[in-house]
């Protein structure tokens, strides 16, 4: 057993001078080496299958977050602009403007920062109803 292990360890490495010397004096190891070589040679000849599927399609994971982050930033920016409105110096609606134009202007008027979106929309609807009752 010890001798076989010696053979298997050595045959996996570069065959050194001391290994060749050992083989010359050990018929058991010499026979083992011959058989191991035969098994190895046959295996190399048998194991020749090809990987046929080809190269998998992959994307760079480290860059994939950049377009997503950019898209998210744009969406957040647009949403913030809608919430903030055009500012306090926006022109007031004139009497000749249509109701739809008034409706849009109401939506774009600035709201206090602590007002929730749903509350602000309710406020818009109430103000629109008032405008319809008292044009």
């Amino acid at each position: 057993m010890e001798c076989n292990r010696f053979v298997e360890e050595k045959i996996g490495q570069t065959e050194s001078a001391d290994f060749r010397e050992h083989l010359a004096g050990c018929s058991g190891c010499a026979r083992d080496v011959e058989e191991l070589r035969e098994v190895r040679t046959l295996y190399k000849a048998a194991s020749t299958e090809k990987y046929l599927r080809g190269i998998p399609r992959v994307r760079r994971s480290r860059a994939s977050w950049i377009p997503m982050a950019a898209a998210a930033a744009v969406l957040i920016g647009v949403f913030a602009l809608i919430l903030a409105g055009p500012g306090t110096n926006s022109p007031k609606p004139t009497e000749t403007e249509s109701k739809s134009a008034i409706f849009v202007r109401i939506h774009l008027e600035p709201w206090p920062s602590d007002v929730r979106v749903t509350t602000a929309l309710d406020d818009c609807w109430q103000r629109l109803e008032q405008l319809e009752k008292n044009p």
Binding site: R5, E35, E49, K50, Y51, P56, V58
Partner: protein, 181 residues
């Protein structure tokens, strides 16, 4: 090799193509014999996808092949834990399809005998217990040293050598019937 690794880490497509071209067949054969024919192509693809994902973290402390086949080995172990081993004999027969093999031009009778012996050896490899088969394939297919195999599989060097010894004994016995002296 350094150039390949630098190319992979830089995300160059040609480096990835070279990786698959150079290691695809070996990884495929390793995975096929360790995990079975059916999942072999999927697992091979997964090996390359894992390499792609983790190559930036790769540090060349050992050989690249050792790192690469560690990924393949771990995927095979995960797969084996999830599923029972497949019936291997039909897989071997199926996998002897001509297009899978490199072309050669031996004489017809010699070729039949040679194919018989090859088939017998591949069957014998697939019949080996998992631990022996793993060491055998890491040595013969991946080309790792026994020290690398011992480190990868987390066993002492003597255990790795012992598993190889028993694997070789089993293969030699299986080939006795085919005229091997």
């Amino acid at each position: 090799m350094d150039e390949l690794i630098r190319g992979l880490q830089a995300g160059r497509p040609e480096a990835f193509e070279r990786l698959v071209r150079e290691y695809g067949d070996r990884i495929y054969r390793f995975v096929k014999r360790l995990a079975g024919e059916r999942p072999a192509e999927d697992l091979t693809q997964e090996v390359f996808i894992r390499v792609h994902r983790s190559i930036e973290a790769y540090r060349p402390e050992g050989r690249f092949e050792s790192w690469l086949f560690t990924i393949a080995n771990n995927l095979c172990i995960d797969h084996s834990r999830r599923r029972k081993p497949e019936a291997s004999l039909s897989d071997v027969d199926e996998d002897l399809a001509p297009e899978r093999f490199a072309s050669g031009t031996p004489e017809p009778i010699d070729r039949l005998e040679e194919e018989e012996r090859r088939r017998a050896l591949l069957k014998a490899v697939e019949r080996l217990p998992f631990d022996q088969r793993q060491v055998f394939l890491l040595r013969e297919e991946a080309g790792l040293s026994f020290r690398e195999i011992a480190e990868m599989t987390g066993c002492p060097l003597n255990t790795a050598l012992g598993r190889m010894h028993y694997a070789m004994e089993a293969l030699r016995k299986s080939l006795k019937a085919y005229g091997m002296q």
